[in-house]
Symmetry: C2
Subunit: 198 residues, 2 copies
């Protein structure tokens, strides 16, 4: 694939990310993506397949970037909560893509579900390793802890209108910093960090 094709693919990917984050799978329009990317629809279909496959490619790469940037290390799990918060703050499209995916795939398998499942289970195994090492309380199922932790960290971004109503409008950097500190403390509490040797 030559330089032009690479550049076209990159523009399509960029335009598709914006379009899907804004409109979801059903609402996204391939002709808008083509126009934004200065590409034609035929090239989108030939590079990425149909609209659902394009959405899966976009979300798959965005989640990979998130996992590459924010590592769940059980030895520094409170940092994980803070870093996950920072990542979503800097990349608001990720939570929107996840929400659109949740709404679209409520009752059916997501694309590449086996790989996705393995990624989530790897995270819960990291928590389990922390439990076995005595860093994280081991009373609760690590998969439950992971789901609750993600909700605790991500709700602020998933429900920006509720966050605005509760915290202030607009939510300025001082408000965000204070909330981030609470999120880190919330993670410590949920996992009972630093209290296990009492």
């Amino acid at each position: 694939m030559g330089y032009d094709a690479d550049a076209t693919r990159a523009r399509i990917f960029e335009a598709a990310t914006t379009e899907f984050a804004e409109h979801g799978v059903a609402g996204a329009r391939v002709d808008r993506i083509a126009e934004q990317a200065r590409a034609n629809k035929a090239s989108i279909y030939s590079y990425f397949g149909n609209k659902e496959q394009l959405f899966a490619a976009v979300l798959g790469r965005k989640l990979q970037e998130l996992m590459d940037a924010v590592c769940l290390d059980p030895a520094r799990i409170a940092d994980y909560a803070g870093e996950l918060f920072d990542y979503h703050l800097a990349h608001p499209e990720v939570i929107r893509l996840l929400m659109h995916e949740a709404l679209r795939y409520r009752d059916e398998a997501v694309p590449e579900q086996a790989r996705r499942t393995e990624e989530y289970l790897a995270k819960s195994r990291a928590l389990q390793a922390g439990q076995e090492a005595g860093v994280i309380d081991s009373e609760l199922d690590p998969r439950h802890l992971l789901l609750m932790l993600m909700g605790q960290v991500c709700w602020f971004f998933a429900m920006p209108h509720v966050s605005r109503m509760l915290l202030s409008e607009p939510v300025d950097s001082e408000v965000v910093a204070a909330y981030r500190a609470s999120v880190v403390e919330g993670a410590r509490r949920l996992l009972k960090l630093g209290t296990l040797d009492r």
Copy 2:
């Protein structure tokens, strides 16, 4: 308004709830709602206004029903988490409507924002009352606690595909009951219930 008009309004409301929960604000189609409700589009517009106003009416009533059913009493806050979980389990359309609202009103005021804001602040004042009564740890801002608690309880429903991948597929009643118990314990931990007199 006679009996027939009441019945028509009720059918429109029911059909609109299903349509908005499925397709969101932009994706919902008034002609589908009319068809499902055996009503005509003119009667929908005359009863409820435009599509955005109809969405606001649907979500407003659904949230009112939730608040009437699940009361945030600081003296029994762990029960609140469990009861909120049960409510969402029984009414899966509510979280979907909230997600569609979040996606639609990310950057702008929601309809009747002043009233909505007051409802959220009333909940955080209930948490604050619990803090002042010494039931809930008072280190963290009660508004932060409320947002984190909602995320902790609701993520399971907001991300059903992730829950399925992590917990089992399908998520059966035993899995749900175990997760619910973790949610109640998670709320106890987040708010430091029962540990304050140590």
